[in-house]
């Protein structure tokens, strides 16, 4: 129960971690060999489309699901051999939370503390401390069912950290929250980091990943397809993105395809990615590429209906690595 237990090595280290589910239609490889290294004190973001193996990986690391194969050390302990000792050192907040609406926030925090071995007196004191830290003291003696979405989420976070874990897992911590409540929760997560806690979180929100995470990993089809700092990931994709919406038929398959082929042949276009009725062209210098592209397409009788120019974002990274847009995922 000591604050931040001492151990050598990184906070999370996995080698070829795998998970196969046996279903009626045969075995499904949800996670197909993941190598991860999360250093202490980081906020590590885990991104991926739905069904990519994100939650399965998180649940394995949080001891809820035994890996089919591979090795992992979590908070200095062998995950497969000693899940019980891992549990003492980690906290976990599920996407849907984990409170009974009939139980008060204080009672939930007290039993949670006691399940981690605290005495009744210590648990009571700790519950009061956590309620105060999360600005829930006035709501502490009300059933959790009466809380707003943001309050409920703060209570969930509190339940994950009553025992001062070295490592906290957060599954989609701000999904469904309004911007104010989200910003509030970000502050809480940052202050955890300042206190020395390592945070491993999944998210659907780009601005969240960008603003909060020190490092990001993108998982797709059960494999990690990219891993770096948000800035380095964005740098890798390219400077700018030109978006072209083509005229002609609304879906414009013909003109879209023709424009795509034409653009792809230009030396200043690094990559072309179709995205829901438009094409996205990755270029180094948008201000010179855009007029050149317009001249080219006009000359070929393929005038674009709409054009856009923007800095490459994390969504472009995601789109390039997985072929899907994170914005669609967030809306899904």
């Amino acid at each position: 129960m000591d604050h931040l237990v001492e151990f050598p090595g990184p906070m999370i280290e996995t080698h070829d971690l795998r998970r196969t589910f046996k279903g009626r239609g045969g075995a499904v490889e949800a996670v197909r060999g993941i190598d991860l290294r999360v250093e202490r004190g980081q906020i590590f973001g885990f991104l991926g489309p739905n069904g990519a193996g994100k939650t399965t990986t998180l649940r394995m690391l949080a001891t809820l699901l035994p890996p089919t194969a591979g090795e992992a050390r979590v908070a200095g302990v062998d995950l497969v051999r000693e899940p019980q000792r891992v549990r003492e050192r980690i906290g976990y907040v599920a996407q849907g939370g984990g409170t009974d609406p009939a139980v008060t926030g204080r009672a939930e925090l007290i039993i949670q503390s006691r399940l981690y071995g605290m005495s009744r007196a210590a648990a009571t004191a700790r519950a009061a401390e956590v309620l105060a830290a999360l600005q829930l003291d006035s709501a502490g003696d009300r059933p959790a069912g009466t809380y707003s979405g943001g309050m409920r989420r703060r209570l969930d976070l509190g339940l994950g950290l009553v025992h001062r874990p070295s490592l906290l897992f957060l599954d989609e911590p701000t999904t469904g929250l309004d911007p104010q409540a989200r910003a509030n929760l970000w502050d809480e997560i940052r202050s955890l980091q300042h206190g020395g806690t390592t945070v491993f979180m999944t998210t659907h929100y780009l601005e969240e990943a960008d603003a909060l995470c020190d490092r990001l990993a993108i998982i797709d089809h059960g494999l990690i397809v990219a891993e770096d700092t948000p800035a380095a990931l964005k740098r890798e994709v390219a400077g700018e993105v030109v978006t072209l919406g083509m005229s002609g038929s609304p879906d414009g398959p013909g003109s879209l395809e023709a424009a795509r082929a034409l653009a792809e042949a230009q030396p200043y276009v690094r990559e072309v990615v179709p995205d829901d009725g438009v094409i996205r062209l990755y270029v180094d210098h948008g201000e010179t590429a855009l007029p050149a592209l317009l001249r080219l397409l006009d000359g070929a009788g393929l005038p674009p209906q709409r054009v856009g120019l923007a800095q490459a974002s994390l969504d472009d990274v995601f789109l390039r690595k997985t072929g899907r847009s994170l914005r669609d995922e967030a809306a899904a």
Binding site: R87, I90, T99, D100, A102, V103, L115
Partner: protein, 253 residues
């Protein structure tokens, strides 16, 4: 010891949750009390029929109602687990170092306490009608009800873990509970049954609980039905708890 401590914590939480919503307790008692008031008096004239055991119609009838309480009170506890699963509470607890067995034991212990309280209330209510009890009879009855509760509650939890839906659970329980109830001789003793029905009824474990409690209530304390009922349900309780322990250890919430 960690297991005992964790069991106590879960017991305490579960009992508080039950007491916070006493409607369930009242509803659980409502049905047997209705049977007592609206059906019990009919038995007075039936009691003289050939094959009806002696000892007074109330002392024959109330043991059946006690087992009925156990069946419904114990059988339906899976509902509370389905709710806890849906709220994410079970998963939250599974990430803590808490013993998985403690979760099963703590909840089952709560169920037994609820069951015994309901049974005692029913006995007290039945006394003015003409029920007579002695200390030995009461002790045997409580022992059998505890074993019955520790058989039915873990079984209900295992089914809840498999089905994970209130609707499916309700249908399952009704499908199983009604034939068990009818064959156990709760309403009328199986001594009235024709041969084939009597033979079929001996396969229903609940019959042996009813028979044992009926024996001590009707002045037959040394009847072999008493040790048989006690031993049978002690064994079934151990099996149910061991099976449920496995299911709780494996279940992925």
């Amino acid at each position: 010891m960690k297991l005992l401590r964790d069991t106590w914590l879960i017991f305490e939480r579960s009992l508080l949750l039950t007491l916070r919503n006493p409607a369930w307790l009242v509803l659980g008692l409502m049905q047997p009390i209705l049977y007592l008031v609206l059906f019990g008096p009919l038995l007075k004239s039936v009691a003289s029929a050939p094959g009806f055991p002696g000892g007074g119609s109330w002392n024959v009838f109330v043991p059946g109602l006690l087992v009925q309480i156990a069946l419904f009170s114990g059988g339906f506890v899976g509902f509370s687990l389905v709710a806890q699963l849906r709220y994410g509470v079970v998963e939250r607890f599974r990430v803590t170092p808490m013993s998985r067995t403690a979760m099963l034991l703590g909840m089952s212990l709560r169920d037994v306490v609820v069951l015994v309280s309901q049974a005692l209330i029913l006995i007290v209510v039945a006394i003015p009608f003409g029920l007579t009890v002695d200390a030995y009879g009461l002790a045997v009855t409580i022992a059998i009800l505890i074993a019955l509760g520790l058989t039915l509650a873990p079984t209900s939890y295992v089914i809840a873990l498999q089905l994970r839906s209130e609707d499916a659970l309700a249908q399952f329980i009704n499908a199983v509970a009604v034939p068990m109830l009818l064959l156990s001789g709760i309403l009328l003793p199986m001594s009235l049954a024709p041969g084939w029905l009597g033979t079929l009824a001996t396969a229903d474990p609940l019959l042996h609980a009813v028979e044992a409690i009926r024996a001590v209530f009707t002045g037959r304390p040394t009847d072999p039905a008493v040790p048989l009922g006690l031993a049978l349900f002690a064994g079934l309780a151990v099996l149910a708890l061991l099976g449920a322990r496995r299911a709780f250890g494996r279940a992925v919430a």
